[in-house]
Symmetry: C2
Subunit: 332 residues, 2 copies
């Protein structure tokens, strides 16, 4: 069994073999091992439920792969809802002809990221479809996530208030630039930021930091997400361009290709909006957390006006809208 064929999607003997040899071997836990179509897991308090499909190309890239991404993306969606991520499901859509070793590597990465995030992958499903490019069969992974939210923890754009600070947890554009570099076969040191933000967000909660809103900064980039928060809160976001962290490598890459880091996708970055008195302490907690060393306070909230405005390095102000058009296809 070194290549996926249609029998792996039949629900018969070959499917069982694939589950046993790859998924169960890599992801084994008491719920998944029961081999039921549904996982029965103990529950309590409020649930958070989310889903994401991952269609990224290439499947493997500097700093991550479709497997780590499929776990981190969904874990981060739960985290920014204020939930403790607990359980994931995984739906695999495999293209006929896929090398089984590629699948194994991706599933192994899922297991590693799940371990780091403290989540269990408790149910799965496999389908096989024809490859869109028979010379390069790929795969798609859907993950859904379930987490628990403390009853007294409420995040809402309506909490965003005049004077709040805006913190970004690290440099922008790394994931987008790494994927594009790989596609264009450009050799550089850019590495995707694919990561689960459990440590950072749980540290903020443990230290009692009051959060008004938090969002992971993925497709659409920071500009799109802050515009959504501006729309939802009725407040204006004012950013300082010089405060926004972008690595020198990504900055050069963007200048050459005419890209704007504010619209580039990330996979391990979070934006926090919180009361100004807590901002410095929150920043320090984030910077001491895993994946947060480059965090920065990048602006503040004003109840006068709407939209996202950026004060540029030379002192001008420009309005920054949400992403129009397609961005980078299949970036996640």
């Amino acid at each position: 069994m070194s290549r996926i064929d249609r029998t792996h999607g039949s629900g018969g003997v070959s499917t069982s073999g694939l589950i046993r040899d790859i998924f169960q071997k890599e992801l084994s836990n008491v719920y998944l091992d029961s081999m039921c179509d549904s996982a029965i897991v103990p529950g309590s308090s409020r649930l958070a439920v989310t889903t994401d499909s991952f269609v990224i190309r290439p499947l493997f890239y500097a700093g991550g792969d479709i497997g780590s991404l499929a776990v981190c993306g969904t874990v981060n969606d739960l985290l920014v809802a204020g939930a403790s991520p607990e359980y994931l499901t995984a739906g695999f859509i495999l293209e006929e002809g896929l090398d089984t070793e590629i699948l194994r590597q991706a599933v192994h990465s899922m297991a590693e990221s799940a371990k780091e995030s403290g989540v269990s992958i408790v149910a799965g499903d496999t389908k096989v479809i024809e490859p869109s490019d028979p010379s390069d069969p790929g795969l798609i992974i859907n993950t859904a996530g379930v987490g628990f939210v403390d009853k007294d923890f409420v995040l809402s754009p309506s909490k965003i208030s005049d004077g709040d600070s805006v913190i970004i947890s690290g440099s922008l554009g790394d994931h987008h630039a790494a994927i594009l570099s790989s596609r264009l076969s450009i050799k550089n040191n850019i590495i995707s930021d694919t990561a689960p933000l459990c440590d950072m967000i749980s540290n903020l909660k443990k230290e009692g930091i009051e959060l008004h809103a938090m969002r992971d900064v993925t497709r659409g980039g920071l500009a799109t997400i802050l515009n959504e928060l501006s729309d939802a809160s009725g407040c204006r976001m004012l950013l300082e361009e010089t405060s926004i962290p972008v690595s020198p490598e990504v900055s050069s890459f963007c200048r050459i290709l005419g890209l704007d880091p504010l619209y580039m996708g990330n996979e391990g970055k979070c934006v926090f909006i919180l009361p100004r008195p807590d901002a410095e302490r929150a920043l320090s907690i984030i910077q001491k957390s895993r994946y947060g060393e480059c965090a920065a306070i990048i602006g503040n909230v004003s109840s006068t006006g709407k939209g996202v405005v950026i004060r540029t390095a030379i002192g001008g102000e420009k309005t920054v809208g949400p992403l129009y058009g397609e961005g980078l296809p299949r970036i996640c």
Copy 2:
């Protein structure tokens, strides 16, 4: 916006438009409308979590479509785990060029099936990929489901015992035959059995029927599923061929094409294994429930030996193994 293009997968303005115009319009509920990446839902007791991806072709067929299937398939997976289905997530993987009206119809069917099943679709995600056949762009839907299981309700193959009865909730092969008829452009009256089995299973529970095992009979067919239950329980399943319900139309169809209904996929059928003293009463409850009118007691369990054995119409006995090979590709 009458065709899907890559901008619909960007996470930017076009994605928002698609969510607003189609998904939110069709699926609106208080959790989905909050437009967060995760849905926060109230929880209690034990959770059941499941997932399934749906890659069926054609997208629309006699008796159902990819939308109704995506809901019913996951709802039934929760039901046979003994759970009351509550929440679904939906991940859409759309091929560029897909007619938006096709998507709308599929999402509408999801809404109808969700309503019938009493579930809320609480979170979603959209990605766009290149079509594998540009002349006929399609879509894939992943659903994950969350349900609650009563603390004292336990189903397990280990409960399957000597003398237990085997009940099938209706005729076999309808879904498989309907899909194949559509692909081969054969005109007949065969209609897929795509349906949620909530009514049937909740009636059995309400009436206090003791169930040892239940499974929905999908890919791989009844033969594969009973072999799995035989393996897990260490018991032999003895079926009476003349008792197994197959509609006259499906029976003729199978004879012409050399197909065996025992290996054909269904999307609204369940097999129940339960103590013989309860069997007649359970059968009557199933027959009075929605989608159960053709239910039948088809065999019994023996602790002597293993595997699945069928007593044929002419009195012989044959061993029936699980499905080998591919079955019908993209049947669900």
